[in-house]
Protein backbone atom coordinates (compact mmCIF):
# COMPACT_ATOMS: atom_id res chain seq x y z
CA UNK A 1 0.00 0.00 0.00
CA UNK A 2 2.77 2.39 1.02
CA UNK A 3 4.73 1.46 -2.11
CA UNK A 4 1.71 2.14 -4.26
CA UNK A 5 1.23 5.60 -2.71
CA UNK A 6 4.94 6.37 -3.12
CA UNK A 7 4.86 5.25 -6.74
CA UNK A 8 1.84 7.45 -7.50
CA UNK A 9 3.55 10.41 -5.81
CA UNK A 10 6.72 9.92 -7.87
CA UNK A 11 4.78 9.76 -11.11
CA UNK A 12 2.86 12.87 -10.08
CA UNK A 13 6.13 14.72 -9.48
CA UNK A 14 7.44 13.70 -12.92
CA UNK A 15 4.24 14.90 -14.57
CA UNK A 16 4.52 18.26 -12.75
CA UNK A 17 8.15 18.58 -13.89
CA UNK A 18 7.26 17.74 -17.49
CA UNK A 19 4.44 20.29 -17.53
CA UNK A 20 6.68 22.93 -15.96
CA UNK A 21 9.42 22.28 -18.52
CA UNK A 22 6.90 22.44 -21.37
CA UNK A 23 5.50 25.73 -20.08
CA UNK A 24 8.96 27.24 -19.70
CA UNK A 25 10.01 26.05 -23.16
CA UNK A 26 6.87 27.54 -24.69
CA UNK A 27 7.34 30.83 -22.88
CA UNK A 28 11.00 31.12 -23.86
CA UNK A 29 10.19 30.26 -27.50
CA UNK A 30 7.34 32.76 -27.65
CA UNK A 31 8.82 35.73 -25.81
CA UNK A 32 12.50 35.23 -26.63
CA UNK A 33 14.80 37.71 -24.94
CA UNK A 34 12.01 40.14 -24.06
CA UNK A 35 10.02 37.90 -21.72
CA UNK A 36 10.59 36.88 -18.12
CA UNK A 37 12.61 33.79 -19.14
CA UNK A 38 14.92 35.92 -21.27
CA UNK A 39 15.28 38.39 -18.41
CA UNK A 40 16.17 35.54 -16.03
CA UNK A 41 18.79 34.38 -18.53
CA UNK A 42 20.23 37.89 -18.64
CA UNK A 43 20.46 38.04 -14.86
CA UNK A 44 22.10 34.60 -14.76
CA UNK A 45 24.71 35.66 -17.32
CA UNK A 46 25.37 38.87 -15.41
CA UNK A 47 25.82 37.04 -12.10
CA UNK A 48 28.09 34.38 -13.58
CA UNK A 49 30.16 36.70 -15.80
CA UNK A 50 32.75 37.51 -13.06
CA UNK A 51 33.18 33.79 -12.38
CA UNK A 52 33.61 33.12 -16.09
CA UNK A 53 36.18 35.92 -16.40
CA UNK A 54 38.07 34.58 -13.39
CA UNK A 55 37.97 31.05 -14.81
CA UNK A 56 39.28 32.40 -18.14
CA UNK A 57 42.26 33.92 -16.37
CA UNK A 58 42.90 31.09 -13.94
CA UNK A 59 42.46 28.21 -16.35
CA UNK A 60 43.91 29.87 -19.44
CA UNK A 61 47.10 27.77 -19.32
CA UNK A 62 45.05 24.62 -18.69
CA UNK A 63 42.88 25.49 -21.69
CA UNK A 64 45.97 26.00 -23.86
CA UNK A 65 47.42 22.68 -22.76
CA UNK A 66 44.08 20.90 -23.27
CA UNK A 67 43.63 22.43 -26.71
CA UNK A 68 47.18 21.46 -27.63
CA UNK A 69 46.57 17.90 -26.41
CA UNK A 70 43.50 17.38 -28.59
CA UNK A 71 44.76 19.36 -31.59
CA UNK A 72 48.41 18.42 -31.53
CA UNK A 73 48.69 18.05 -35.30
CA UNK A 74 47.09 21.44 -35.92
CA UNK A 75 49.29 23.07 -33.33
CA UNK A 76 52.47 21.64 -34.86
CA UNK A 77 51.58 22.72 -38.40
CA UNK A 78 50.41 26.12 -37.17
CA UNK A 79 53.61 26.48 -35.20
CA UNK A 80 55.69 25.67 -38.27
CA UNK A 81 53.72 28.15 -40.37
CA UNK A 82 54.05 30.84 -37.74
CA UNK A 83 57.81 30.28 -37.50
CA UNK A 84 58.13 30.69 -41.25
CA UNK A 85 56.02 33.84 -41.18
CA UNK A 86 58.04 35.18 -38.28
CA UNK A 87 61.31 34.61 -40.10
CA UNK A 88 59.90 36.29 -43.18
CA UNK A 89 58.56 39.22 -41.18
CA UNK A 90 61.83 39.64 -39.31
CA UNK A 91 63.74 39.66 -42.55
CA UNK A 92 61.44 42.18 -44.17
CA UNK A 93 60.68 44.48 -41.30
CA UNK A 94 63.25 44.17 -38.60
CA UNK A 95 62.24 47.51 -37.07
CA UNK A 96 58.59 46.72 -36.45
CA UNK A 97 57.41 45.72 -33.03
CA UNK A 98 54.51 43.51 -32.12
CA UNK A 99 52.75 46.47 -30.60
CA UNK A 100 52.85 48.44 -33.82
CA UNK A 101 51.58 45.41 -35.72
CA UNK A 102 48.74 44.94 -33.27
CA UNK A 103 47.87 48.61 -33.47
CA UNK A 104 47.75 48.48 -37.24
CA UNK A 105 45.63 45.37 -37.16
CA UNK A 106 43.14 47.00 -34.83
CA UNK A 107 43.26 50.24 -36.79
CA UNK A 108 42.51 48.34 -39.97
CA UNK A 109 39.68 46.57 -38.21
CA UNK A 110 38.05 49.70 -36.91
CA UNK A 111 38.49 51.68 -40.15
CA UNK A 112 37.94 49.00 -42.67
CA UNK A 113 36.10 49.86 -45.78
CA UNK A 114 32.92 51.28 -47.25
CA UNK A 115 30.76 49.66 -44.54
CA UNK A 116 32.84 50.94 -41.63
CA UNK A 117 30.79 54.11 -41.46
CA UNK A 118 27.95 52.38 -39.67
CA UNK A 119 27.83 53.39 -36.02
CA UNK A 120 29.30 50.56 -33.99
CA UNK A 121 30.82 49.53 -30.69
CA UNK A 122 33.93 47.39 -30.31
CA UNK A 123 33.93 44.30 -28.09
CA UNK A 124 36.14 41.41 -27.04
CA UNK A 125 35.15 37.77 -27.24
CA UNK A 126 35.11 36.46 -23.67
CA UNK A 127 33.49 33.04 -23.91
CA UNK A 128 32.54 30.07 -26.08
CA UNK A 129 29.25 28.18 -26.39
CA UNK A 130 28.35 26.64 -23.03
CA UNK A 131 26.44 23.81 -24.70
CA UNK A 132 26.76 21.36 -27.59
CA UNK A 133 23.76 22.36 -29.68
CA UNK A 134 24.59 25.95 -30.55
CA UNK A 135 27.45 27.85 -32.15
CA UNK A 136 27.74 31.03 -30.13
CA UNK A 137 30.31 33.25 -28.46
CA UNK A 138 29.91 35.69 -25.59
CA UNK A 139 31.19 39.27 -25.95
CA UNK A 140 31.79 41.87 -23.26
CA UNK A 141 29.42 44.59 -24.51
CA UNK A 142 25.71 44.53 -23.83
CA UNK A 143 22.65 46.67 -23.31
CA UNK A 144 24.69 49.42 -21.60
CA UNK A 145 26.44 50.05 -24.95
CA UNK A 146 23.23 50.14 -26.96
CA UNK A 147 23.51 46.53 -28.13
CA UNK A 148 20.13 45.01 -28.98
CA UNK A 149 18.95 41.58 -30.06
CA UNK A 150 19.27 41.02 -33.82
CA UNK A 151 22.09 43.51 -34.43
CA UNK A 152 24.90 42.53 -36.80
CA UNK A 153 28.27 41.52 -35.37
CA UNK A 154 31.28 41.87 -37.66
CA UNK A 155 34.87 40.68 -37.55
CA UNK A 156 37.85 41.71 -39.64
CA UNK A 157 36.39 40.45 -42.92
CA UNK A 158 32.69 41.07 -42.43
CA UNK A 159 29.62 39.50 -40.85
CA UNK A 160 30.27 36.84 -38.20
CA UNK A 161 26.82 36.64 -36.61
CA UNK A 162 23.98 38.44 -34.91
CA UNK A 163 23.13 39.29 -31.32
CA UNK A 164 21.03 36.50 -29.83
CA UNK A 165 20.73 37.68 -26.26
CA UNK A 166 21.94 40.75 -24.44
CA UNK A 167 22.30 41.87 -20.85
CA UNK A 168 24.12 44.58 -18.92
CA UNK A 169 27.80 43.94 -19.58
CA UNK A 170 27.60 41.24 -22.20
CA UNK A 171 25.85 39.63 -25.13
CA UNK A 172 25.58 36.25 -26.77
CA UNK A 173 26.33 36.15 -30.50
CA UNK A 174 24.80 33.51 -32.77
CA UNK A 175 27.56 32.76 -35.26
CA UNK A 176 26.99 32.59 -38.98
CA UNK A 177 27.92 28.88 -39.09
CA UNK A 178 25.09 27.86 -36.76
CA UNK A 179 22.37 25.92 -38.62
CA UNK A 180 19.68 28.21 -37.21
CA UNK A 181 21.31 31.33 -38.67
CA UNK A 182 19.71 32.98 -41.67
CA UNK A 183 20.01 36.38 -43.33
CA UNK A 184 18.82 38.16 -46.47
CA UNK A 185 21.71 38.39 -48.92
CA UNK A 186 22.66 39.74 -52.34
CA UNK A 187 25.72 39.86 -54.51
CA UNK A 188 27.66 43.07 -54.14
CA UNK A 189 27.71 43.83 -57.85
CA UNK A 190 24.20 42.83 -58.73
CA UNK A 191 20.86 43.45 -57.08
CA UNK A 192 19.62 39.84 -56.93
CA UNK A 193 18.33 38.88 -53.51
CA UNK A 194 18.42 35.54 -51.73
CA UNK A 195 18.69 33.90 -48.34
CA UNK A 196 21.98 32.90 -46.73
CA UNK A 197 21.94 30.00 -44.27
CA UNK A 198 24.27 27.26 -43.12
CA UNK A 199 23.11 23.81 -44.21
CA UNK A 200 23.33 20.46 -42.39
CA UNK A 201 26.83 19.88 -43.74
CA UNK A 202 28.05 23.15 -42.25
CA UNK A 203 28.33 24.91 -45.63
CA UNK A 204 27.07 28.46 -45.89
CA UNK A 205 24.80 28.72 -48.91
CA UNK A 206 22.75 31.43 -50.54
CA UNK A 207 19.66 30.50 -52.50
CA UNK A 208 18.53 32.91 -55.20
CA UNK A 209 15.06 32.35 -56.64
CA UNK A 210 15.35 31.84 -60.38
CA UNK A 211 11.68 31.58 -61.32
CA UNK A 212 12.45 28.80 -63.80
CA UNK A 213 14.96 30.91 -65.68
CA UNK A 214 18.32 30.14 -64.07
CA UNK A 215 20.23 31.26 -67.15
CA UNK A 216 18.98 34.76 -66.53
CA UNK A 217 20.41 34.64 -63.04
CA UNK A 218 23.41 32.35 -62.94
CA UNK A 219 25.45 34.34 -65.46
CA UNK A 220 25.45 37.17 -63.00
CA UNK A 221 26.92 35.12 -60.16
CA UNK A 222 30.40 33.62 -60.36
CA UNK A 223 33.07 32.21 -58.12
CA UNK A 224 34.81 34.94 -56.18
CA UNK A 225 31.81 37.30 -56.16
CA UNK A 226 31.23 38.97 -52.85
CA UNK A 227 27.98 38.22 -51.04
CA UNK A 228 26.70 40.97 -48.75
CA UNK A 229 23.67 41.53 -46.54
CA UNK A 230 20.77 42.90 -48.54
CA UNK A 231 19.04 45.01 -45.90
CA UNK A 232 15.80 43.92 -47.53
CA UNK A 233 12.44 44.91 -46.12
CA UNK A 234 12.00 43.23 -42.72
CA UNK A 235 15.70 42.41 -42.33
CA UNK A 236 17.28 43.25 -38.98
CA UNK A 237 20.70 43.79 -40.56
CA UNK A 238 21.86 46.81 -42.54
CA UNK A 239 22.72 46.40 -46.22
CA UNK A 240 26.23 46.01 -47.56
CA UNK A 241 27.93 43.98 -44.80
CA UNK A 242 30.17 41.32 -46.43
CA UNK A 243 29.11 37.73 -45.69
CA UNK A 244 31.70 35.88 -47.79
CA UNK A 245 32.80 34.97 -51.29
CA UNK A 246 31.14 32.60 -53.73
CA UNK A 247 33.00 29.30 -54.10
CA UNK A 248 30.51 27.28 -56.12
CA UNK A 249 27.40 27.96 -58.20
CA UNK A 250 24.74 25.35 -58.87
CA UNK A 251 21.24 25.31 -60.33
CA UNK A 252 18.39 23.39 -58.70
CA UNK A 253 17.22 20.40 -60.75
CA UNK A 254 13.86 22.06 -61.36
CA UNK A 255 15.50 25.38 -62.26
CA UNK A 256 13.59 27.06 -59.45
CA UNK A 257 16.67 28.51 -57.84
CA UNK A 258 20.39 29.05 -58.05
CA UNK A 259 22.37 27.97 -54.99
CA UNK A 260 25.79 29.31 -54.28
CA UNK A 261 28.24 28.05 -51.68
CA UNK A 262 29.93 30.84 -49.80
CA UNK A 263 33.21 30.87 -47.89
CA UNK A 264 32.29 32.98 -44.87
CA UNK A 265 34.54 35.70 -43.52
CA UNK A 266 34.30 34.13 -40.06
CA UNK A 267 37.62 32.80 -38.73
CA UNK A 268 36.50 31.30 -35.44
CA UNK A 269 39.85 30.18 -33.95
CA UNK A 270 41.34 33.67 -34.24
CA UNK A 271 38.22 35.54 -33.23
CA UNK A 272 39.23 38.02 -30.51
CA UNK A 273 37.74 41.39 -31.37
CA UNK A 274 34.41 42.15 -32.96
CA UNK A 275 32.21 45.14 -33.63
CA UNK A 276 28.49 45.33 -33.08
CA UNK A 277 26.81 47.46 -35.75
CA UNK A 278 24.36 49.65 -33.83
CA UNK A 279 21.89 49.77 -36.71
CA UNK A 280 18.20 49.11 -36.28
CA UNK A 281 15.55 48.66 -38.97
CA UNK A 282 14.44 52.12 -39.97
CA UNK A 283 17.86 53.70 -39.47
CA UNK A 284 19.34 55.26 -42.62
CA UNK A 285 21.80 53.33 -44.75
CA UNK A 286 25.26 54.91 -44.80
CA UNK A 287 25.91 56.93 -47.95
CA UNK A 288 29.15 55.03 -48.64
CA UNK A 289 27.25 51.74 -48.70
CA UNK A 290 24.53 53.11 -50.97
CA UNK A 291 27.18 54.40 -53.35
CA UNK A 292 29.02 51.09 -53.40
CA UNK A 293 25.88 49.10 -54.09
CA UNK A 294 24.77 51.55 -56.78
CA UNK A 295 28.24 51.33 -58.34
CA UNK A 296 27.74 47.60 -58.79
CA UNK A 297 24.38 48.07 -60.44
CA UNK A 298 25.86 50.66 -62.80
CA UNK A 299 28.68 48.33 -63.88
CA UNK A 300 27.14 44.89 -64.26
CA UNK A 301 29.25 41.82 -64.98
CA UNK A 302 29.35 39.93 -68.25
CA UNK A 303 29.77 36.22 -67.82
CA UNK A 304 30.01 33.22 -70.09
CA UNK A 305 28.29 30.26 -68.48
CA UNK A 306 28.49 26.61 -69.42
CA UNK A 307 25.79 24.38 -67.97
CA UNK A 308 26.46 20.67 -68.19
CA UNK A 309 23.24 18.92 -69.24
CA UNK A 310 21.94 16.64 -66.53
CA UNK A 311 24.29 18.10 -63.93
CA UNK A 312 23.59 20.85 -61.48
CA UNK A 313 26.93 22.65 -61.61
CA UNK A 314 27.71 25.56 -63.88
CA UNK A 315 31.13 26.84 -64.80
CA UNK A 316 31.35 30.59 -65.02
CA UNK A 317 33.88 33.07 -66.28
CA UNK A 318 33.24 36.62 -65.20
CA UNK A 319 34.46 39.82 -66.75
CA UNK A 320 33.74 43.12 -65.09
CA UNK A 321 32.94 45.71 -67.69
CA UNK A 322 33.99 48.64 -65.55
CA UNK A 323 34.48 49.66 -61.96
CA UNK A 324 33.65 47.14 -59.34
Amino acid sequence: MADSVRGRRRRYILVVMALTALTLATLSQRDGDSGPIGAAGGVAHRVVQPVTDAADSAFGPLHDWWHGFWHHGDVVSQNRKLREELQQALAENSGKTDAIEKLRELDAFFNQTYWSDYKSTGASVVGDSPGNNETTVTINRGSESGVRVGMAVVGVGGLIGTILQTWHGGSKVLLINDPSFGVGARTLLDDRFGTAATDDEGVLRVTFPANGQPKHLSPKIANGDEIVTCGCYGSLLPPGIPIGQVTNVSVAFDASSVRVAVAPTLDLPSLQYVKVILWKPGDPTQASVTEKLAEGAAHPTTTTTTTIPGASTTTSTTTKTAGG
Partner: protein, 164 residues
Protein backbone atom coordinates in the same frame (compact mmCIF):
# COMPACT_ATOMS: atom_id res chain seq x y z
CA UNK B 1 23.61 20.12 7.81
CA UNK B 2 20.65 18.23 6.31
CA UNK B 3 21.59 16.19 3.28
CA UNK B 4 19.23 18.04 0.97
CA UNK B 5 20.83 21.35 1.92
CA UNK B 6 24.28 20.00 1.09
CA UNK B 7 23.07 19.40 -2.44
CA UNK B 8 22.26 23.11 -2.97
CA UNK B 9 25.89 24.33 -3.04
CA UNK B 10 26.78 21.27 -5.09
CA UNK B 11 24.13 22.18 -7.65
CA UNK B 12 25.35 25.77 -7.86
CA UNK B 13 28.97 24.63 -8.19
CA UNK B 14 27.99 22.20 -10.95
CA UNK B 15 26.24 24.91 -13.00
CA UNK B 16 29.10 27.38 -12.52
CA UNK B 17 31.68 24.77 -13.53
CA UNK B 18 29.63 23.75 -16.54
CA UNK B 19 29.27 27.27 -17.95
CA UNK B 20 32.62 28.76 -16.97
CA UNK B 21 35.19 25.97 -17.10
CA UNK B 22 34.04 23.25 -19.48
CA UNK B 23 33.58 25.45 -22.57
CA UNK B 24 37.39 25.73 -22.39
CA UNK B 25 37.87 21.99 -21.92
CA UNK B 26 36.07 20.54 -24.91
CA UNK B 27 36.86 16.96 -25.81
CA UNK B 28 36.18 15.82 -29.39
CA UNK B 29 34.49 19.19 -29.85
CA UNK B 30 31.89 18.76 -27.12
CA UNK B 31 31.30 19.71 -23.50
CA UNK B 32 30.03 17.13 -20.98
CA UNK B 33 26.66 17.26 -19.21
CA UNK B 34 28.08 17.69 -15.74
CA UNK B 35 24.64 18.41 -14.30
CA UNK B 36 23.31 15.15 -15.69
CA UNK B 37 26.20 13.16 -14.22
CA UNK B 38 25.67 14.85 -10.85
CA UNK B 39 21.94 14.07 -11.01
CA UNK B 40 22.74 10.42 -11.72
CA UNK B 41 24.98 10.32 -8.65
CA UNK B 42 22.30 11.94 -6.49
CA UNK B 43 19.73 9.46 -7.81
CA UNK B 44 22.08 6.57 -6.95
CA UNK B 45 22.72 7.71 -3.38
CA UNK B 46 19.39 9.39 -2.54
CA UNK B 47 16.82 7.80 -4.76
CA UNK B 48 14.80 8.64 -7.85
CA UNK B 49 12.86 11.56 -6.38
CA UNK B 50 15.93 13.37 -5.10
CA UNK B 51 17.76 12.67 -8.36
CA UNK B 52 14.84 13.99 -10.40
CA UNK B 53 14.55 17.17 -8.32
CA UNK B 54 18.29 17.77 -8.40
CA UNK B 55 18.48 17.11 -12.13
CA UNK B 56 15.54 19.38 -12.81
CA UNK B 57 17.00 22.26 -10.79
CA UNK B 58 20.52 21.96 -12.20
CA UNK B 59 19.22 21.48 -15.74
CA UNK B 60 17.05 24.56 -15.37
CA UNK B 61 20.06 26.57 -14.19
CA UNK B 62 22.08 25.37 -17.19
CA UNK B 63 19.20 26.07 -19.58
CA UNK B 64 19.36 29.77 -18.70
CA UNK B 65 22.73 29.92 -20.46
CA UNK B 66 21.74 28.07 -23.61
CA UNK B 67 20.20 29.26 -26.85
CA UNK B 68 17.76 26.33 -26.89
CA UNK B 69 14.36 26.68 -25.15
CA UNK B 70 14.51 26.77 -21.35
CA UNK B 71 13.38 23.57 -19.64
CA UNK B 72 14.76 20.98 -22.08
CA UNK B 73 17.89 20.10 -20.09
CA UNK B 74 15.82 20.23 -16.90
CA UNK B 75 13.29 17.60 -17.95
CA UNK B 76 15.93 15.44 -19.68
CA UNK B 77 18.16 15.34 -16.59
CA UNK B 78 15.18 14.71 -14.31
CA UNK B 79 13.87 11.76 -16.33
CA UNK B 80 17.26 10.07 -16.71
CA UNK B 81 18.13 10.51 -13.03
CA UNK B 82 14.72 9.18 -12.04
CA UNK B 83 15.24 6.13 -14.23
CA UNK B 84 18.61 5.32 -12.64
CA UNK B 85 17.19 5.76 -9.15
CA UNK B 86 14.37 3.41 -10.05
CA UNK B 87 16.60 0.59 -11.30
CA UNK B 88 19.16 0.97 -8.52
CA UNK B 89 17.72 -1.90 -6.41
CA UNK B 90 18.72 -4.23 -9.25
CA UNK B 91 22.35 -3.65 -8.30
CA UNK B 92 23.93 -4.84 -5.06
CA UNK B 93 24.75 -1.35 -3.85
CA UNK B 94 28.42 -1.21 -4.85
CA UNK B 95 28.85 1.10 -7.75
CA UNK B 96 32.60 0.94 -8.64
CA UNK B 97 33.32 0.75 -12.36
CA UNK B 98 29.62 0.69 -13.10
CA UNK B 99 29.79 4.48 -12.90
CA UNK B 100 31.47 4.51 -16.32
CA UNK B 101 28.50 2.65 -17.78
CA UNK B 102 26.00 4.82 -15.92
CA UNK B 103 27.72 7.94 -17.20
CA UNK B 104 27.75 6.73 -20.81
CA UNK B 105 24.22 5.31 -20.84
CA UNK B 106 22.87 8.31 -18.93
CA UNK B 107 24.64 10.70 -21.28
CA UNK B 108 23.21 8.92 -24.32
CA UNK B 109 19.70 8.85 -22.88
CA UNK B 110 19.91 12.48 -21.76
CA UNK B 111 21.24 13.62 -25.15
CA UNK B 112 18.57 11.73 -27.06
CA UNK B 113 15.77 13.01 -24.83
CA UNK B 114 17.10 16.57 -25.16
CA UNK B 115 17.18 16.29 -28.96
CA UNK B 116 13.66 14.82 -29.08
CA UNK B 117 12.24 17.54 -26.81
CA UNK B 118 14.12 20.23 -28.75
CA UNK B 119 12.74 19.03 -32.08
CA UNK B 120 9.23 18.76 -30.60
CA UNK B 121 9.46 22.38 -29.43
CA UNK B 122 10.57 23.61 -32.85
CA UNK B 123 14.36 23.64 -32.62
CA UNK B 124 14.82 22.18 -36.09
CA UNK B 125 18.61 22.51 -36.30
CA UNK B 126 19.02 19.37 -34.18
CA UNK B 127 17.50 17.24 -36.96
CA UNK B 128 20.82 16.30 -38.48
CA UNK B 129 23.40 13.54 -38.37
CA UNK B 130 25.83 15.81 -36.57
CA UNK B 131 23.56 15.69 -33.51
CA UNK B 132 24.19 11.92 -33.19
CA UNK B 133 27.95 12.46 -33.11
CA UNK B 134 27.54 15.22 -30.54
CA UNK B 135 25.38 13.01 -28.29
CA UNK B 136 27.80 10.05 -28.47
CA UNK B 137 30.90 12.17 -27.85
CA UNK B 138 29.23 13.97 -25.00
CA UNK B 139 28.19 10.63 -23.46
CA UNK B 140 31.82 9.46 -23.62
CA UNK B 141 32.88 12.60 -21.77
CA UNK B 142 30.11 12.01 -19.22
CA UNK B 143 31.39 8.47 -18.69
CA UNK B 144 34.87 9.79 -17.88
CA UNK B 145 33.51 12.27 -15.35
CA UNK B 146 31.02 9.90 -13.71
CA UNK B 147 33.48 8.10 -11.37
CA UNK B 148 34.71 11.48 -10.10
CA UNK B 149 31.19 12.77 -9.52
CA UNK B 150 29.98 9.60 -7.79
CA UNK B 151 33.09 9.72 -5.61
CA UNK B 152 32.47 13.37 -4.77
CA UNK B 153 28.86 12.65 -3.82
CA UNK B 154 29.97 9.79 -1.59
CA UNK B 155 32.44 12.16 0.12
CA UNK B 156 30.18 15.13 0.76
CA UNK B 157 27.22 13.01 1.84
CA UNK B 158 28.94 10.15 3.69
CA UNK B 159 25.86 8.40 5.06
CA UNK B 160 23.35 7.99 2.30
CA UNK B 161 19.79 7.53 3.38
CA UNK B 162 17.76 4.51 2.46
CA UNK B 163 15.20 5.44 -0.11
CA UNK B 164 13.39 2.20 -0.70
Amino acid sequence: MPRALRLVPLGIAVVLTQVSLFPQLRMLGVVPDLGLVAALAVAWFDGPEAGAWFGFAVGLGFDLFLATPVGLSAISYALVAYALGTIRPMFDGRVGWLTLGFGFAGGLAGGILFAIFAILTGTDQLQQLHTVAVVVNSALYDALLAPLMFGLLALITPSPTRFN
